[in-house]
Symmetry: C2
Subunit: 190 residues, 2 copies
DNA sequence: TCCAATTCCTAGCGCTGCTAGATATAAGAG
DNA sequence: CTCTTATATCTAGCAGCGCTAGGAATTGGA
């Protein structure tokens, strides 16, 4: 059945359109502006169609987050690959991480602050998330010393995450960001 | 006018009752469960009364956060005061911070992740928040070295905040918390 | 005792995520 | 080619949200 294949393809395209619309709208106006009605209007279908693709708004946000995990992994890998020495790699990866979060605040939120349960239940999230985590681990490995690598990586990650979130919620002055990042990098690369 | 004094007192008591109800409800069921209708029912007044005390739900959350800032400052000061040596002080203060956040997740959220603008516009927030920040600064001061103390403090704070938020959103296993905390403490106390 | 001012509540607006039931469209059988 | 069946989609609506206008009730002072 060729028609069935076509319909499945169209369905997949529509699903991608939903994710793209949610992503764009969230980046432009924040997640509060992403309502099911606006999404439906954007893809030129009625509201209930969304629910034939996703279980609810949270699942749509999770799908956007999944894309984000893949993007972040690429950004970190690129930063690490182009660094000249291990110490510089830590600095570059840290900078790449915070830059990613700064440039796509809504996506970063979907990945790490909102949508608690759903993304981790999906199949492909662990893969891409693990890829990004592995990049961080390889970056700090030369400086882990006697400490457990996983614990060091998670702590380094937490430092980056804290810097990003506190800055964007207005608790930390954006002007001093580089100085703080330098402190964190220094503490994890010696 | 004695009656006027009484009414003002009753008004203040009712305002405190609103904050307490919001705090209790948020701690018990999360901020999503704190609706203006439930709050009104809790204090046994109608909804619009809330708006004669606070500009809106955000302002009520901000009021809960303000109390939290004072509590956190006390907890950190207590931990620092009872520590035997500077290195132990870092460990104790860090543990006190994460314990505070773990035990009062909803309040911690109101303080540091939600209610972005309002609390910092108020008068008494900077005081209590600064007090907590000062405790952190004094704790890490012996280990700041040549680095700017404020930058080190903010970075240490970010590490704690990251550990707390990533753990509670399920991104970090709770079982490994102590190990991560030890890594963070080690990196900021040598 | 009456009036004025304050306090408070009822009712409702526009919005949200989500869904049941009806309708239009397409596919397969005779 | 027509009719029936199945699928895809929409219209309309529910319950809940934060918030507010306008009227009712209570209170204090003359």
């Amino acid at each position: 059945m060729s028609t069935q294949a076509r319909r499945e393809r169209e369905r997949a395209e529509r699903e991608q359109a939903i994710i793209a619309a949610a992503r764009d709208l969230a980046l432009a106006e924040g997640w509060d502006a992403v309502t099911t009605r606006r999404l439906a209007a954007e893809i030129e279908y009625s509201q209930p169609v969304l629910y034939s693709h996703f279980r609810g708004k949270d699942a749509i946000m999770a799908a956007v987050a999944v894309e984000g995990f893949a993007e972040l992994a690429v950004a970190l890998a690129s930063a690490r690959a182009s660094a000249t020495d291990p110490r510089q790699a830590v600095a570059d990866v840290a900078a790449a991480y915070t830059t990613f979060a700064e440039q796509r605040p809504a996506i970063y939120d979907a990945m790490f602050t909102l949508a608690v349960d759903l993304p981790f239940a999906s199949q492909d999230v662990p893969t891409d998330l693990a890829r990004g985590f592995a990049e961080l681990a390889e970056t700090v490995r030369p400086f882990a010393g006697d400490d457990d690598l996983e614990a060091v990586t998670e702590t380094f990650w937490s430092g980056l995450h804290g810097l990003v979130t506190l800055m964007r919620s207005g608790r930390l002055r954006r002007a001093d960001h580089d100085r703080r990042l330098a402190v964190l990098v220094d503490r994890f690369s010696r």
